[in-house]
C-alpha cells in the first residue's frame, strides 16, 4: 500500500478495527515513513480530542413529552378499532328476541307496511336507548368501548350528542373522556352543536392530554371560532407548558 492508501486506514488503525494483517501492514509502513508517522501522530491527537467532546444535554422534560405523545397516538389508533364488547352481545340478544317476536307478530296478525315501520322504529329506539344506557352504566375500559360502539353504530342525534358531551365533560376517567372527544370529532360535520360543545369543553378540561386532543381536533378541522378559547388556554398561567407550546404551534400552523 502507498502512503495515501495507508492514511485512509488511519482512523480504523487507531480504533483497532483493522484485521491483523492490515494492522501489521500499517505498523510496518510507519516504521519506514516519517511523513505518515507524523500524520498518524496528528490524527491521534485530533481523534482523541474529538473523543473528549461532551455530550449535549437533553432537555429534562423530553421523555415525559414523548410519553404523552405516545399515549395520545395509542388512543387515536384505538379509535379506529371497532369493538364488540360483551354488552353488545346482550343488546344483540335483546334485539334478536324482540325481532323474533316482531316477525311472528307481523306474519300472524298484521301485514301493513305502516305497522311494520312503526315497530321497526320502536325497536331501533329501544336499541338506541340500550346503547345510550351503556354510557351511563359501564365503567373504565368497557365504557371506552361503549363510546366507540355507540358512535359507530348510532345515527347522530340530540340524545347521542348529549350523552357523548356529558361523557366528555364529566366522566371521572380521562381515557373515557378522550374517547368521547375522538367520537365527537367525527361528528363535527354532521351536527353543528358538536363544534360548539368541543369549543366549550376547552374551558372545562384540565387534563393536559385532553386539552391537547381538543386543540388538535379543533385546529385540524380549521375551526376559527376555537382560536380565542385556545389563546385563553395559552394565556392561563396554570396551563401545562406542553399544552401551551402545542397550542401555539397548532394555532400558527392550522387556523
Amino acid at each position: 500500500m502507498n502512503c495515501k492508501e495507508i492514511n485512509i486506514l488511519l482512523p480504523e488503525f487507531m480504533d483497532g478495527k483493522l484485521d491483523s494483517r492490515q494492522q501489521q501492514e500499517v505498523r510496518e509502513h510507519m516504521e519506514g515513513c516519517p511523513h505518515c508517522s507524523r500524520e498518524l501522530q496528528e490524527m491521534q491527537g485530533f481523534l482523541s480530542f474529538l473523543g473528549k467532546v461532551p455530550e449535549v444535554e437533553v432537555p429534562a422534560d423530553m421523555a415525559e413529552e414523548f410519553a404523552l405523545m405516545m399515549e395520545a397516538a395509542e388512543n387515536r389508533s384505538k379509535g379506529h378499532v371497532r369493538f364488540l364488547p360483551t354488552w353488545t352481545k346482550i343488546a344483540a340478544a335483546v334485539v334478536f328476541v324482540a325481532g323474533t317476536f316482531l316477525m311472528g307478530y307481523l306474519s300472524g296478525v298484521y301485514k301493513g307496511n305502516s305497522v311494520q315501520q312503526q315497530m321497526a322504529s320502536d325497536l331501533s329506539a329501544q336499541k338506541q336507548q340500550l346503547l345510550l344506557a351503556s354510557l351511563r352504566d359501564y365503567t373504565g375500559p368497557q365504557k371506552i368501548e361503549a363510546v366507540y360502539t355507540v358512535s359507530n353504530t348510532m345515527e347522530v342525534s340530540n340524545d347521542l350528542v348529549d350523552a357523548l358531551v356529558n361523557t366528555m365533560n364529566r366522566d371521572k376517567n380521562a381515557n373515557v373522556r378522550l374517547a368521547a372527544i375522538m367520537a365527537l370529532s367525527g361528528m363535527i360535520e354532521k351536527d353543528g352543536r358538536v363544534k360548539e360543545e368541543l369549543i366549550r369543553s376547552l374551558a372545562i378540561q384540565e387534563d393536559p392530554l385532553l386539552q391537547i386532543s381538543l386543540i388538535q381536533v379543533l385546529t385540524e378541522k380549521g375551526i376559527r371560532e376555537a382560536r380565542q378559547p385556545i389563546e385563553n388556554i395559552t394565556n392561563n398561567e396554570k396551563t401545562d407548558a406542553h399544552v401551551k407550546a402545542f397550542a401555539k404551534d397548532m394555532i400558527k400552523a392550522i387556523i
Binding site: 492514511n7 473528549k52 461532551p54 455530550e55 423530553m62 421523555a63 413529552e65 414523548f66
Partner: protein, 183 residues
C-alpha cells in the same frame, strides 16, 4: 439478572403491538438522536421536535420491520430523512450560522475545564463550516461510534466510499479547526 433485550428484539415486540418496547427504545437512544440533530443543525429547539418525530415514526413504521434489519442504521436513516425534510423547504440546512443554544455535559467530570469548553466551541464552529455530508460522517463515525459498515447501511453507500470520505472529512475538519485556532 434479566437479560437486556436487543434493539432488534424490541422492534419485533413493538411490531406485535407492545408499546412498552417503544418506551425502552426511546430511553436507550433518544439522547443519541438528539445529539445527532443538535450537532447537525445547531438548533436545539428544532432538534427536540425532530427527535420526538423520529421515535413517533419508529412506532408508525414498526409494522414494516423485518428480522434482517439492524436497528441503529435503520433509526438513523429515519433521522436523516426527517432532517432533510425539515430543511428542504427553506433550504436552511446549508445556511445555518446561528450560535447553538446548547448545554454540554461532560463524559467524565475530570475533563471539564474552560480550556476544553473553548476548544469544543471552536470545534463546533469548525463542524458547522464542513459540508453537511462530511459533517454527518464525522457525527456518525466519531460521535455516534458507527462502524463504516453501519454508516454505509445508514447512508445507502458502500463501505469503501464511506472509508475514503470519512478520512477526507476528518482531514478537512482538522484543517478548518487548525485555521481557526491560528486566527
Amino acid at each position: 439478572m434479566m437479560e437486556k433485550s436487543s434493539d432488534e428484539r424490541l422492534m419485533k415486540q413493538l411490531a406485535a403491538g407492545e408499546m412498552k418496547a417503544a418506551s425502552l427504545l426511546y430511553d436507550r437512544h433518544h439522547r443519541h438522536v438528539y445529539n445527532y440533530f443538535v450537532r447537525m443543525t445547531r438548533d436545539s429547539d428544532a432538534s427536540r421536535d425532530l427527535t420526538q418525530n423520529v421515535f413517533l415514526k419508529v412506532i408508525r413504521y414498526a409494522n414494516s420491520w423485518r428480522d434482517d434489519k439492524v436497528f441503529l442504521p435503520w433509526l438513523f436513516r429515519i433521522a436523516r430523512n426527517i432532517m432533510v425534510d425539515h430543511f428542504r423547504g427553506a433550504q436552511r440546512f446549508y445556511q445555518l450560522e446561528d450560535e447553538p443554544e446548547i448545554i454540554l455535559r461532560d463524559k467524565e467530570d475530570a475533563v471539564r475545564s474552560s480550556e476544553l469548553n473553548e476548544a469544543v466551541g471552536f470545534l463546533m464552529e469548525a463542524m458547522a463550516k464542513l459540508p453537511p455530508g462530511y459533517r454527518e460522517l464525522i457525527e456518525l463515525n466519531r460521535f455516534q461510534g458507527f462502524s463504516y459498515k453501519e454508516i454505509a447501511l445508514t447512508t445507502d453507500s458502500s463501505e469503501n466510499t464511506v472509508r475514503v470520505r470519512t478520512f477526507r472529512a476528518i482531514q478537512k475538519l482538522k484543517e478548518i479547526y487548525a485555521q481557526m485556532i491560528v486566527d
